[in-house]
Symmetry: C2
Subunit: 233 residues, 2 copies
């Protein structure tokens, strides 16, 4: 039986809801587009959707309406931060008695509806093999560093630079143990779960993303997403 | 009289022409959209368009067809590299006897047609003030470093990271002097003109770009650009 869970991050306590997970794209909420990619992948034991408390009931409603035959989807409350939201998912798995060293979570932004079957599959394989992975694309723009925002501090070698997308996937127990060993201050700084693993000296494999696996945050992104919906991708 | 030149980079010797500068967008070649933004800015003494030798005549034709009343546009041959192409533009200004310490070049990708009047204006002001500037936006994705492409090496603090766009603008004589002082090997490594200035300890100011100031390289970008053309930006 599979020990792999999809974890869809759709907001936590205090999230500004500036994201567009409930906005409609081609007649369906963006969250539903995203969720469907996970539902259609046969590798998941369950799919956990984490939302602000106030939106849990609405989220359950739209899942019921748009994906009536989907099984194994649970809507859970998000935490105070992105990492706490991921921890809420892991704690839920733990409560069901299914958290083992083999449990894998594939965490994904609810507002990245163009994730593909291949990306999900490679995440599962890489996390099983290595314990952690991050979905990235080679940086398309030159990356520039500025420590104070006024002038350039350095321009790193572009061939070393990648843009992080999601999914980010983890051996769930290892991530939880590592996270719980952090101080409160470290937790505030390490907002990216992959960064936690990297700083602990753990290997985090790269999985190749796609240019079109965009995060829909700004009105600009919605226009782009509407165009992408009409494309063969 | 203005000492400011627009320098539109539309390819050099050996360029794969993988870029889309001659592709039509809304009935006009992308290069024309881009060029028009410079033509409509009153601050330029001249606008230099650098293309592969084989495309110079075609480029002159389309400029004549789509921008018949525009003055001060010169089509020149690009160089072997991006920096050599920029140097060809500066050498042209020098040959006309107009290269002084005050001469500013605003270099811009021919395939970034959504550059704005504000971005161009702020480039001119910053280059006059500081000698060099780069147009950037705060990194929207987490930036990930991998030295060998298999695993993450580090995840730099995202608040320090920016994505480089164009224009990049320079005091032309200073850039030329700095470039000509480099060894052949340094020239091969330093493919970004701003990086040359940074490594020489020169200040390079940041100018705020726009998310929609995209570079049209892949078919994906063409779809996005077509959507953007229909937007109010």
């Amino acid at each position: 039986m599979s020990d792999v869970y999809g974890v869809i991050l759709a907001g936590g306590i205090g999230a500004r809801m500036g994201n567009k997970q409930f906005l409609e794209l081609g007649g369906r909420p963006i969250l539903i587009h995203t969720l469907e990619k996970f539902v259609l992948h046969p590798g998941f034991q369950g799919i956990l959707v984490l939302t602000p408390q106030a939106w849990m009931s609405y989220t359950r409603d739209i899942i019921h309406r748009y994906l009536p035959s989907a099984e194994g989807i649970e809507v859970l409350q998000g935490g105070e931060t992105r990492n706490e939201t991921v921890m809420n998912a892991i704690r839920y798995i733990e409560k069901t008695g299914r958290l083992t060293d083999e449990t894998i979570i594939v965490t994904h932004d609810s507002v990245r509806p163009f994730v593909t079957h291949r990306i999900i599959e490679e995440n599962i394989q890489a996390a099983k093999r290595c314990g952690a992975c991050d979905t990235v694309i080679p940086a398309t723009d030159t990356i520039v560093e500025s420590r104070e925002g006024g002038c350039i501090t350095s321009i790193p070698n572009r061939s070393y630079m990648y843009q992080g997308q999601t999914p980010q996937s983890f051996a769930a127990k290892k991530l939880k143990d590592t996270y719980e060993a952090l101080s409160g201050q470290e937790r505030e700084i390490l907002t990216d779960a992959c960064k936690i693993m990297v700083l602990q000296g753990e290997k985090v494999e790269l999985v190749q993303g796609e240019v079109f696996n965009i995060k829909i945050t700004y009105p600009y992104d919605v226009t782009v997403a509407q165009a992408l919906l009409g494309m063969e991708i």
